[in-house]
Symmetry: C2
Subunit: 683 residues, 2 copies
């Protein structure tokens, strides 16, 4: 075969030496993968990847995902050499506070980094999500002569990625969906952190991916022409995603750490850096050396990207003339802007659903269907629980190998893969993904949910069966700790609406939140409307508001979320009839409420009222900040049991009668509690 690659030794060696120099300078990092995959990555970038370094956000660019994020210096070297705005001075600040070159790639920090990777396997799911988004947008917006969405998703992965379950889940779905424009290059080096992969990993990887329906090739990852040919063949196969197993040597070029786990996760050491440079014919005392030939090897890349962008711009201009509505819609969804008038749509849904007795999961399903025609970028499904989580868009069709316009996603029973794929969709842009399962199964997907929060991505989790009130399925399925555990993730919004109106408002709040993920916690059981939720749009946006009030200053505050707001309302009715001044506060979101000005929070929860009782069918820890030193929390601080929901309410002390008794006891105990506090103050 003739050499077809633009890659020269200077480029590969510059990638290697920039990487080992930066890692040595930081005295921290992972040189093994940048050295082992320098050939492969250089070929992919120089010969195929279509990006415009002068415009990193160009919408129709190819996506590149470095799933093994520990190899970050490989990516930073590629970005620097290809001309992205990542100066050498930042490479020299690798792993330092506030640099553009953190230890693992972080989207938003470095131009050209498409996703935050490091936790293994996530990048594979992200890439699958990106390829799915590309496929849907292409189907929605391309017209004869106007391929306005047409790009590839490439990724690099290692053994660690492929051992993680999330990679199996995502790869299986990618094969099922026939994502032909997804190409992964696998760094097959037989080394993991503990040593040879033979310690724990002896899968036949090609066979495994064939079982998922992938197109699989093998090649020598240091034979650049072979890599070039394999990528070309992968692109020629358009009905299946492609895996190219690249046989490589970790730490390639290092005379003493080549093929050793010692190259994986520690700097080579000053001496070995020098020996490596000598070994590859590099000036041994030069640091951060970038020869002209290395930069020149990426001339093709720059020319290719600039050409594609100029063609794209011309094409878009003509598209806007011929298909003005489509063009405006494409522009809108790519910009991440919601359609105008959305609040009015939601207000309409609230009016329609507001007086109905429905489980909030059912309300959510109706809201999804009400939003779907307007928010065309809203796109989701469930981990095989569509019927239970009520996430199907009626008549929307299923996204499949043959129907790329399908509105409904079938993730399979793959929660972690679902959440990782949703991240990739959101990162790609042009779609707002939602994904559903039971709240308790967030345990399966926290790894990806945390990354959604870290990456500030707009994804919506529809989490139904949100408490012990799911009943008979028992403790394995009953969420107890999950609402509070989810609230501990920085940047995660957890919304637990109390009725149909709050559910519609919660969906609006989730969509309006462009800079982070939102969990919607929804009931299995039916709930009547709460009279006081008519202003739910404002109330939910603010995270908490008064849904039922007394005359004058309250003597007792009842704070609830979701289904327990109803308990609070009924308790308040009883106590009000007895002459107690009771206020009921619905607190659908801690995060939103705590972001309000103190004056608003004090208006909702007057500091003068110390008798406060929170009611939420979950762990009570975390409520202290709202109930204060004179208050108490009703909740569930144990695992549930398999029984009908009404029986469980009695067993766990969550009936209206139980909570009424707790409230009365709390009021009765106020003098004693105040006395105890006074003693502390005087002590």
């Amino acid at each position: 075969m003739q050499s077809q690659t633009a890659v020269n030794d200077a480029l590969v060696n510059t990638i290697k030496t920039l990487s080992i120099d930066a890692i040595q300078r930081a005295n921290s990092g992972h040189p093994g993968m940048p050295m082992g995959m320098a050939d492969v990555a250089a070929v992919l970038w120089a010969d195929f990847l279509c990006v415009d370094p002068s415009e990193p956000g160009f919408a129709d660019r190819d996506r590149f995902v470095l799933s093994g994020g520990h190899g970050s210096m490989l990516l930073y070297s590629l970005l620097h050499l290809s001309g992205f705005p990542l100066p050498l001075s930042e490479i020299k600040r690798f792993r330092q506070l506030g640099s553009m070159t953190p230890g693992h790639p972080e989207v938003g920090v470095t131009p050209g980094v498409e996703t935050t990777t490091g936790p293994l396997g996530q990048g594979i799911a992200n890439a699958v999500g990106m390829a799915m988004a590309e496929a849907r947008l292409a189907a929605r917006f391309n017209r004869p002569g106007f391929h306005v969405v047409d790009h590839w998703t490439y990724g690099l992965c290692g053994d660690g990625d492929l051992e993680e379950g999330i990679s199996h889940e995502a790869a299986s779905l990618a094969g099922h969906l026939g994502l032909g424009k997804l190409v992964f290059l696998y760094d097959d080096n037989n080394i993991t952190i503990e040593g040879n992969t033979s310690l724990a990993f002896s899968e036949d990887i090609p066979k495994r991916f064939e079982s998922y329906g992938w197109h699989v090739q093998r090649c020598d990852g240091h034979d650049r022409d072979a890599v070039h040919a394999a990528i070309a063949a992968a692109r020629a196969e358009t009905a299946r995603p492609s895996l190219i197993c690249c046989k490589t040597h970790i730490g390639h070029g290092s005379p003493n750490k080549h093929d050793s786990e010692k190259a994986h996760g520690s700097p080579l050491g000053v001496d070995e850096v020098r020996l490596t440079k000598e070994n590859i014919g590099w000036p041994p005392d030069a640091h951060f050396l970038v020869p002209t030939e290395a930069v020149a090897a990426f001339d093709n890349l720059r020319a290719r990207g600039a050409l594609k962008r100029s063609h794209h711009e011309e094409r878009m201009a003509r598209y806007a003339e011929i298909h003005p509505e489509l063009a405006a819609e494409l522009e809108r969804v790519l910009a991440g802007e919601l359609p105008e008038g959305l609040e009015g749509v939601v207000a309409g849904l609230m009016a329609e659903l507001g007086e109905k007795t429905l489980a909030t999961r059912a309300s959510s399903g109706k809201v999804i269907n009400g939003l779907a025609p307007h928010v065309t970028e809203l796109w989701g499904g469930s981990a095989d629980l569509a019927e239970s989580t009520k996430t199907l868009v009626d008549g929307g069709g299923s996204f499949s190998r043959t129907q790329r316009t399908g509105r409904n996603l079938h993730f399979g029973i793959r929660e972690h893969g679902m959440a990782g794929i949703m991240n990739g969709m959101a990162l790609h842009g042009g779609v707002i993904p939602y994904g559903a399962t039971f709240l308790t199964f967030t345990d399966y997907m926290r790894g990806s949910m945390r990354l959604a929060a870290l990456m500030k991505q707009r994804v919506v989790y529809v989490l139904t069966h949100d408490s012990i009130f799911l009943g008979e399925d028992g403790p394995t399925h009953q969420a107890v700790e999950h609402a509070m555990a989810m609230r501990t993730i920085p940047g995660m919004h957890v919304l637990r609406p109390a009725d149909s109106r709050e559910t519609a408002a919660a969906w609006l709040a989730a969509l309006e939140r462009a800079d982070g993920p939102t969990c919607l916690l929804l009931t299995r059981q039916n709930l009547p409307p709460i009279p006081g939720s008519v202003d739910a749009i404002a109330g939910v946006r603010q995270g908490g508001y008064v849904v039922q009030d007394c005359e004058g200053a309250p003597e007792l505050l009842l704070l609830g979320t979701g289904s327990e707001v109803h308990v609070c309302v009924r308790v308040a009715e009883t106590l009000s009839a007895e002459g107690v001044a009771v206020r009921v506060v619905s607190l659908p979101s801690f995060e939103r409420f705590e972001a309000q000005p103190q004056a608003y929070r004090d208006a909702v929860l007057p500091p003068s009222c110390g008798a406060r009782l929170s009611v939420e069918a979950g762990r009570t820890v975390g409520w202290e900040r709202f109930v204060g030193p004179l208050g108490e929390s009703v909740g569930v601080d144990r695992f549930g049991e398999s029984a009908p929901d009404k029986v469980l309410a009695e067993e766990l002390g969550l009936t209206v009668a139980d909570v009424t008794a707790r409230a009365r006891a709390l009021l009765a105990a106020q003098p004693a509690r105040k006395a105890a506090l006074r003693a502390l103050l005087d002590g």
Copy 2:
């Protein structure tokens, strides 16, 4: 082939009708799988499974795992019909509060249930762990002529199990390890909750399992002789685990819901129950009918189990004569009793390590090695992070296909699989499993960790790099919310020791806890000894204790965990020199401390001292209960950053100087805070 199975139609139809009757009566449950897998399960139990229903805990019994726990009525029917102590009256109480027949099988609730299943995929990992435990115990204890440990692990799984990533992880490791005594029967029915598996699942399952190194067969799951022959062939293959893909019809026997997702998760309905009975030649109006022939079909099972048990008892008696030390050791580990004198061993380790400056992960590594010769049942490893998590037993060898006595486990980069496998090991008994990864990656394995807590299993999680102080790897690897999120799981113990002595004591506490899991949170960075930790054994057992005190009543309480106890100690030194009466409390475990009598807690945290500052490099929510209304918490309520640890301490306000300033400010603010509280009390 000659019919070889003891199964008759009466048995299969009784399984089906008991299941649909119980589900109909509960008006809740999953009939599809019990009906579809009745033939397969009946053959396995009648012809192969070696258990003694009169002694469900017989140590050398075969293990049976129903991974798809929603098919619980299949298991309950089998248990009832084979003679386990599960009366028909309990079958009739399916899914009711306090019954022996909860919605999903729960270990400890029903004799003969080996593990709690429901969250999909877990049972496969559990079964792998059981088979690994059997292999290790057999290698440790069997001697020529004395196969005192010799049993099989069987499981049933469905599409849902096989879609979950944890099943991929566990199955891959099982293949790698060549677990020849593990046999899974796959309910290949093409139906999941949303409908046909073609919506999301088109893997070539046999090929996939072959790629993991499994022995794979296919058969008609309703041809009982074929099922019998396949299980026999699976048992004949001893070098590889076996998967038997059984082509079945979900809801088999139901005229209208056969082969439909409608049979999966809802009762058939009164009419369809009747039609089903008519269809299979059953009295249509009989309920919970158990014909004699159905019970008789399990005569073989009962005879086989009783025979094995009597042979086992004879064998053990002779074994105890010839190998008395081995016999005593086997009896001890199977009983779950720790060796005598363990506290003395730990005290010795504390003396040896106590004055050293070590990261607590390094202390933990030395403790593991110090315990290993005594606690021979301690058995563990890491998710490919042995070097970082310090979990290798020196000279212990690796558990592998060829070395079943190996002390060190290599789980691969499979955290979820690891945790699920550990559950299986603990459930099997005879071993105490530990497994390690970075604290942040508990996000990948919470599903299994929650089940360990629910099942009250003694497993130890070694979770290192427990805060932002891991430094340069950045926010993806820095635990922030994880300690608190882990504390929300009911029954989970989270121990965060502050130095080598506390680390040794934490290991002791974890081992002593026979009825639940423990997380050990350990630092990456070095820590000096804390002078006041000499009584760490008692202090850690109690969850919190005074490590540095003042004369007289304290004016200020500093509460810390792990590495932040050191910050507290240094702050206390500064303030004490200024004349402030400061007490420092180490709180390694919230759970243990809160289980102490009020008098002890008040002695450690005197109610009279309201000026309290907690310091923990993680989320502050959850500390309110300890710092009270006049106190404050120093922590990390945001994601970390990639930078050296000392730089991060400054950036995040966690230096000694920062905390000293916070403590001074807190003291200075006391009058104002008290005044505000007084106003509230008087308001």
